[in-house]
């Protein structure tokens, strides 16, 4: 391994490679900040550039840099505008945006940068150690387990997204899953629930839905009720420093979430999104009672957890790509396409045949994370200037970016009408205190969930896979417990409260 490390360092520390890392991170950060342009679209844009370079190591390093930059940039817009352009940073806005509203945008961005850096770096160390071993674990997972794993993820999100209102969160998840069934499925050559509308043939666009669920209601709320307090502290980024007590509070969170996020990222299909939501949920559950109430209102732990987890998961998602040649997420699938175009076949033999590529990528992860920290921390006050733009200009521009994001993704003007329609629905749902994140996550995972479910049904000729595969059964039991327990606990707490009141 030491030899490999040296080879990697030698390759990654050349001037050209350093320029690639820095350039990739900067491009990724700036484009990632725009709501609607996630890492997938940015990497897709950069592919022609990367392929024209001709050097696979340089291309992969550039694209990896763009990937990290985009995730970091996405968390910036989540914190400042509550407009996550990337599913993986939705959880960041839960606590990041309240912090920004309280005038602590600088501190929130600093915590995000530090958490991202730690998550990415620890993830890269774990990748170095576990890449060979983990490939064998990932191979144990069949479609039945993937199905069960996604059910666990969804029920965890439903159980934790709305405390005390599991039914609402569950309903939103199911609604998201239903929306995912609109259009043509991968396994059946048959349009479903399109109501004869041609534009629905390919289903709803993910970006459209994400914009409609988060960016649009936020903009409408800004219109409905101008925040007078916002004008006072906007743009003024003071107090970027993290106090010693805060550092001590988030250090264990970062440690736990780096490891958890990495392992979730390794599982194909899970990725940064689930890692960030699960990370948020887990940290919220194990936090002491008084801190639990802080979550969702600007808790630093609630911000550090998803930020660490999504970066660690990004690193983790490279494991199946580099060791098995199986992309675990949309982004790594695009990377796989780029590598094949450069005549490199990722897989178990990559480490043996072309060690310089494998190790250079790992080394560039360290460098990329360092670049992000060093470049972005000083830039934060300037990035946050976005808050100083007067409301009259900012709102039309937010609306414009949501419209553009939806339009570019599908190149279809009907998509914009869907955007407005869903935006109005989402605003109504927010009025009634329905959690919207479960809907979006259900929508994202819906397709994969159904595919894996169908595949296991076909393999076992029925639903017998549920009891014939112990791991599947175990995961599904966990999922059921996740839904039932909070309801039961709330019921008991209510009974007890009633009892106290009666017995008085």
């Amino acid at each position: 391994m030491l030899e490999g490390l040296l080879i990697g360092l030698q390759t990654a520390l050349s001037f050209q490679m350093l320029a690639m890392v820095i350039g990739g991170c900067l491009i990724g950060t700036f484009i990632g900040m725009l709501p609607g342009l996630g890492p997938m679209s940015i990497i897709a844009i950069m592919i022609p550039v990367a392929i024209s370079m001709g050097d696979p190591a340089a291309a992969l390093i550039l694209l990896a840099g763009v990937y990290y930059g985009a995730i970091f940039g996405g968390s910036t817009s989540s914190i400042l505008l509550n407009a996550p352009g990337v599913a993986g940073t939705v959880a960041t806005s839960f606590d990041g945006f309240p912090m920004a509203k309280q005038g602590k945008a600088g501190k929130a961005l600093t915590i995000a940068a530090v958490a991202s850096f730690c998550g990415g770096t620890i993830g890269a160390i774990l990748l170095m150690i576990f890449a060979p071993a983990l490939s064998s674990v990932a191979l144990l997972f069949h479609s039945a387990e993937y199905f069960a794993l996604m059910v666990v993820g969804l029920s965890a999100i439903a159980a934790f997204a709305g405390t005390g209102q599991v039914a609402k969160a569950l309903l939103m998840t199911v609604l998201g899953l239903m929306m995912a069934t609109v259009g043509e499925g991968a396994l059946f050559n048959m349009p479903r629930f399109t109501m004869g509308i041609m534009d629905l043939q390919s289903g709803f666009g993910f970006i459209t839905l994400a914009m409609a669920m988060f960016a649009l209601p936020e903009a409408l709320f800004l219109v409905l009720k101008p925040r007078s307090a916002n004008a006072a502290n906007s743009g003024e980024i003071k107090d970027m420093r993290i106090t010693r007590a805060e550092a001590r509070a988030i250090a264990p969170v970062i440690g736990r979430q780096s490891i958890q996020g990495f392992f979730i990222g390794v599982l194909p299909g899970a990725g940064a999104t689930i890692a960030s939501f699960l990370g948020y949920a887990v940290e919220r559950n194990i936090a002491p009672k008084h801190e639990q109430e802080e979550f969702g209102k600007g808790s630093i732990k609630g911000l550090a957890a998803p930020e660490t987890a999504n970066n660690a998961a990004c690193t983790g998602s490279f494991v199946p790509l580099l060791t098995l040649g199986i992309p675990g997420s949309g982004t790594t699938a695009i990377l796989l396409g780029a590598l094949i175009a450069l005549n490199v076949t990722p897989g178990p033999r990559l480490m043996i045949d072309e060690p310089q590529i494998f190790w250079a990528v790992i080394m560039s992860m360290f460098i990329g994370n360092l670049v992000l920290l060093v470049l972005n921390l000083p830039l934060i006050p300037y990035i946050a200037k976005i808050l100083a733009i007067p409301r009259n200009y900012l709102i039309p521009f937010i609306l414009f970016f949501t419209l553009m994001g939806a339009y570019i993704g599908q190149n279809n003007a009907t998509e914009l009408l869907f955007l407005v329609g869903f935006g109005v629905c989402a605003t109504a749902l927010r009025f009634a205190d329905y959690p919207l994140a479960p809907l979006l996550i259900g929508f994202i995972l819906g397709g994969m969930l159904e595919d894996n479910f169908s595949r296991s049904m076909q393999l076992y000729d029925g639903i017998s896979f549920i009891w014939e595969r112990p791991m599947t059964l175990g995961l599904l039991v966990i999922a059921a417990l996740l839904i039932v327990l909070p309801t039961y606990r709330a019921q008991r707490a209510r009974m007890r409260a009633k009892g106290v009141a009666d017995g008085d």
């Binding site: 209102q165 409905l224 709102i395 190149n411 109504a428 009025f431 709330a490």
Partner: protein, 160 residues
């Protein structure tokens, strides 16, 4: 009945319609060879419709008491907020969507940004126009040249 239960009722109706489509209409056109498959295109939607109906029913019937939280915006006092601005902006977005093809990207976009700021109460025309033109030009260049997506810049009769 509170707003959340009304919404749950609407969603319940959606779930019922969805369930009706899944249970009674989807399997008719199924090819015979696909009927021997353990999984049909309607299997997953059938499961979902039942889950959805149960979850919506719980809320409609008020079986799960939720804690009433002080929301950011209270919908009961909607009239006190800038409701008209919000509605006008939504109408503007719809108009933008409809005019994007016939009017061209640059024209409809500048109009959208200027009118959007106007609705919100901005009256400094020169700044509005300048910001709109610069932003539109930059985005158009990025989309057209870098991404290679064709957007008709001007209305058809000017030659866009």
């Amino acid at each position: 009945m509170a707003l959340d239960r009304w919404i749950a009722l609407v969603i319940l109706c959606i779930c019922l319609a969805y369930g009706y489509a899944a249970w009674f209409t989807m399997d008719q056109g199924l090819a015979p060879f696909m009927q021997r498959n353990p999984i049909w295109p309607s299997t997953f939607p059938k499961v979902l419709s039942i889950l959805g109906i149960i979850a919506a029913g719980i809320i409609v019937l008020g079986l799960e008491k939720s804690v009433v939280k002080e929301a950011d915006i209270d919908y009961r006092r909607l009239g006190e907020y800038h409701l008209w601005q919000a509605i006008l902006l939504l109408v503007l977005m719809v108009l933008y969507a409809l005019s994007l093809r016939p009017l061209g990207f640059i024209s409809s976009n500048i109009a959208f940004l200027v009118l959007g700021a106007f609705i919100l109460g901005e009256r400094k025309w020169h700044i509005m126009l300048l910001a709109a033109v610069i932003a539109t030009a930059v985005v158009w260049y990025l989309v057209q040249q870098v991404l290679g997506i064709y957007l008709r810049p001007f209305p058809g009769f000017i030659g866009g």
